[in-house]
């Protein structure tokens, strides 16, 4: 899911605590925004920190002045062979920058049926990933290469990664019990940072700080939970909603790191970069926020509420637009499926996250 989706969902979760809404209104507290901050935090940790701790064993640095798909494919094959022999290896693919706004693209695919690594040199592209016509490599010997390896691939979905702009993707290759080599995309992503364990730990630390620093608010008898507890709870649920939302995609999360070692598979309902699901989550969250801000306004009773008819609100503003959104989504999926025989970057069963802008 996109960062904004997690951010708004985090705020929505926080808005379900009446006391937090009261704190915002009566004490000018920013506590509701805290849910958003911890909602986006797992991705912030990954893309601003964790990626830099990843040390690949193999690196492929294609030379833009001497383009050779075979050389790239052999570099990848070397990493795969190492994994087949020793059990594990890691690989970093680098991009080819030609100018301030010009890059040479290439793609990488692992073909299960033939155990081949397929590399295709693509056209030159701009930072918006639009190709420059006529920049394709003319020599087919240099443009496409297939290198066979002596092991089978295990991959959860058809994958053709396009390496174009900014930092290229990283892979981990791990030998499975049945002798196959599992291909793990972005091994540094959605691991410790995307675990409930981290959320619990952060909430625990925040809880200790809050317990000693947050005083009793006005009218404590009105609330079942003490005021200091709002902070750890909002942090906990804010980060948890991120993990739950990400689990609806393909990549999954390492839910209880360090007790669990691997990323679980996602439910595969949608791709992280799909427009409609992202918007659906954002829209639903905004409706929840507005609804909660209204119903939890201090001293509010139904008759004085701005949203005096909740059924009307949810049916007109949520149910009907949701039907339209799902219709458009499944219609779009159907159109994409027709093109499925071409397992490319836009395939519906794709978790295309080669650059951080789509996360």
């Amino acid at each position: 899911m996109k960062g904004l989706t997690h951010f708004v969902s985090g705020i929505a979760v926080a808005s379900f605590f009446p006391q937090a809404v009261h704190m915002a209104v009566q004490e000018k507290s920013f506590i509701l925004a805290l849910g958003g901050i911890f909602g986006i935090l797992p991705d912030t940790l990954d893309f601003k920190f964790a990626r830099y701790f990843f040390k690949p064993e193999f690196e492929v640095r294609p030379d833009p002045n001497n383009l050779d798909a075979k050389k790239i494919a052999e570099g990848v094959a070397e990493a795969v062979k190492k994994a087949a022999e020793d059990g594990k290896s890691t690989l970093q693919l680098h991009t080819m920058q030609l100018g301030a706004n010009r890059w040479r693209s290439y793609s990488l695919a692992f073909e299960k049926e033939t155990s081949e690594i397929v590399v295709e040199i693509g056209p030159e592209i701009d930072t918006g990933q639009l190709p420059f016509l006529g920049t394709e490599v003319k020599d087919p010997q240099k443009a496409v290469a297939r290198v066979k390896v002596d092991c089978e691939f295990q991959q959860d979905f058809d994958k053709k990664s396009t390496i174009g702009i900014m930092t290229g993707p990283a892979f981990e290759f791990a030998k499975t019990e049945d002798g196959k080599v599992e291909i793990i995309f972005l091994p540094w992503h959605r691991t410790w940072s995307h675990s409930f364990t981290l959320g619990i730990l952060t909430a625990f630390i925040a809880g200790i700080i809050a317990y000693f620093t947050v005083g009793e608010g006005p009218n404590p008898d009105l609330y079942t939970l003490p005021r200091w507890m709002m902070y750890p709870l909002i942090i906990l649920f804010g980060s948890a909603i991120h993990i739950i939302e990400d689990s609806t995609g393909f990549m999954g999360n390492n839910l209880f790191y360090p007790f669990t070692k691997k990323r679980t598979k996602g439910l595969g309902f949608m791709s992280a970069s799909d427009a409609v699901p992202n918007f659906f989550f954002v829209y639903t969250s905004i409706l929840c926020i507005i609804f909660n801000l209204d119903r939890f306004h201090p001293g509010q009773i139904l008759e004085t509420r701005a949203i005096s008819n909740p059924w009307f609100y949810w049916i007109v503003f949520w149910a009907l637009p949701s039907v339209v959104m799902f219709y458009l989504y499944f219609k779009g999926q159907g159109t994409k499926s027709k093109k499925k025989n071409k397992p490319d970057f836009d395939s519906p069963k794709m978790e295309h996250e080669p650059d951080v802008s789509v996360i």
Partner: protein, 449 residues
């Protein structure tokens, strides 16, 4: 029904069409002058109207303003594409637009934006009756929460900027420092702009007589001058521009772009201080945009909905939300408006948008001819030479000093490829902090009170 018939059968309303047309023409001239903002011009116009005691009925003034703001929201794409952006809302659009200009597709980019603008106007016109019901509810519900919503916008703006480094080095530390260089500049820009904001909003050097223009040198310094300096240093000759007879676009793209742009524009129009640049960023993230054409088109919608929508909100009966510069400028002379004025507003808005769109094509072609004949560098130099005395004229030496500091801060994201949106901290942070009630603490800490 009676009201509608009354409107149609009373030709005296045609005078409003005349005034809106004048407004559109005026905005065309303003748009042609690079880095000049319609709000500054309107402020001066209002002063002239008061000073010369020109008799102008309020509704005529409204029609004039609608024509100006609608025209400006559509025309300003042209100078922003070919000469440089006038404010933050435009600078968000400029990067992809400059890219298209470099490929000879500047005209296409302008037309796509204008299609988006028309889409925004159509959506606003359709939803205008609904606004009467929804906006008061939104105002009531969000009113006590605006400070933390602004805080959340600030937090997201900071947290959502990702490292830009290439990570080519085998040293992790080198890669980390390279990636964080961009983020660090972004954070520093944000911090400095915030401090500048606190200073200019509380202890400005601009003379009291020109207090209504006190923010002008800040914006000229943060956005216009850095762009002009970059143009003077970097840009060579503008490549030959292709003027296509048709634009490659389909209805799905129009619907998607207009919808997404409307969301961002409406958010920016509704929220105080939030600009179309920020609204556009949020909506493009919310709808997971990836296509450049979609971005350009939706941005057209976003900025039009922002500029025009913020003025429209002022006319919603019983709400009278003062959002955006124009509403603030005209609010002293406005009377309490009712449904009749509100729907007249909508009608004038649609008319002005149609006229503006028709005028946009020859205007763009004229600009293209100009940039192909005149060296782009000289256009920027002349603009810079005109801009600095203009700032001095309206804000004195104090204004020039503020502009110089703002220019230094404004150059940082341009030179280090950080997000220019961080510059909006100049307004976002002081307003958010003040709304939350911590303004005096910060001012005391900074030694400003």
């Amino acid at each position: 029904m009676q009201t509608v018939l009354n409107l149609i059968l009373n030709p005296q309303y045609l005078i409003l069409v005349y005034f809106s047309f004048i407004g559109v023409l005026f905005s065309l001239i303003v748009s042609f002058l690079p880095a000049l903002h319609i709000y500054n011009v309107l402020g001066i116009l209002m002063l002239l109207v008061f000073h010369l005691e020109v008799a102008l009925p309020p509704m005529h003034l409204i029609a004039l303003c609608i024509g100006m703001i609608v025209g400006y929201s559509i025309f300003n794409t042209v100078p922003a594409s070919f000469f440089g952006p006038g404010d933050e809302s435009m600078s968000y659009y400029v990067l992809p637009s400059a890219d298209w200009l470099e490929k000879g597709r500047g005209y296409e980019s302008v037309i796509l934006t204008a299609i988006g603008s028309l889409g925004g106007i159509v959506i606003m016109a359709i939803l205008a009756p609904l606004f009467i019901k929804i906006v008061p509810i939104l105002k009531t519900v969000t009113g006590p929460h605006l400070f933390w919503i602004l805080g959340a916008v600030i937090a997201y703006a900071i947290l959502s900027e990702w490292p830009k480094g290439l990570s080519y080095s085998s040293s992790r530390l080198t890669n980390f420092l390279e990636g964080w260089k961009y983020l660090g500049i972004g954070l520093l820009t944000f911090f400095l702009a915030s401090i500048l904001g606190f200073i200019v909003m509380n202890k400005t050097l601009v003379p009291v007589d020109f207090a209504f223009q006190s923010i002008t040198p800040v914006f000229v310094g943060l956005f216009a001058i850095p762009w002009l300096i970059t143009n003077i240093i970097n840009i060579g000759k503008v490549p030959k521009q292709h003027i296509p007879e048709t634009v490659e676009i389909d209805w799905a793209l129009v619907y998607q772009g207009s919808f997404s742009g409307f969301l961002g524009g409406f958010f920016a129009a509704f929220m105080p201080i939030v600009t179309a640049g920020i609204g556009g960023l949020l909506s493009s993230h919310a709808t997971a945009q990836r296509d450049n054409r979609l971005f350009i088109l939706s941005y057209g919608t976003c900025k039009t909905v922002y500029y025009v929508g913020s003025f429209l909100l002022f006319f919603i009966p019983g709400v009278y939300l003062t959002r955006g510069g124009l509403a603030s400028i005209v609010s002293p002379v406005m009377f309490a408006t009712g449904y009749r004025e509100y729907f007249l507003f909508v009608a004038i808005m649609v008319f002005s948008a149609g006229i503006s769109f028709l005028m946009l094509m020859p205007f763009t072609k004229a600009c293209i001819r100009l940039v192909e004949k005149v060296n782009y560098k000289w256009v920027s130099i002349v603009t810079l030479v005109l801009l600095i005395p203009a700032v001095f004229k309206f804000t004195g030496f104090g204004g020039l000093a503020i502009m110089a500091v703002a220019t230094g801060i404004g150059l940082m994201p341009v030179l280090f490829q950080a997000r220019r949106m961080n510059l909006m901290a100049v307004l976002l942070v002081p307003v958010c902090v003040s709304m939350a009630g911590y303004g005096n603490h910060v001012l005391r800490f900074l030694g400003l009170i």
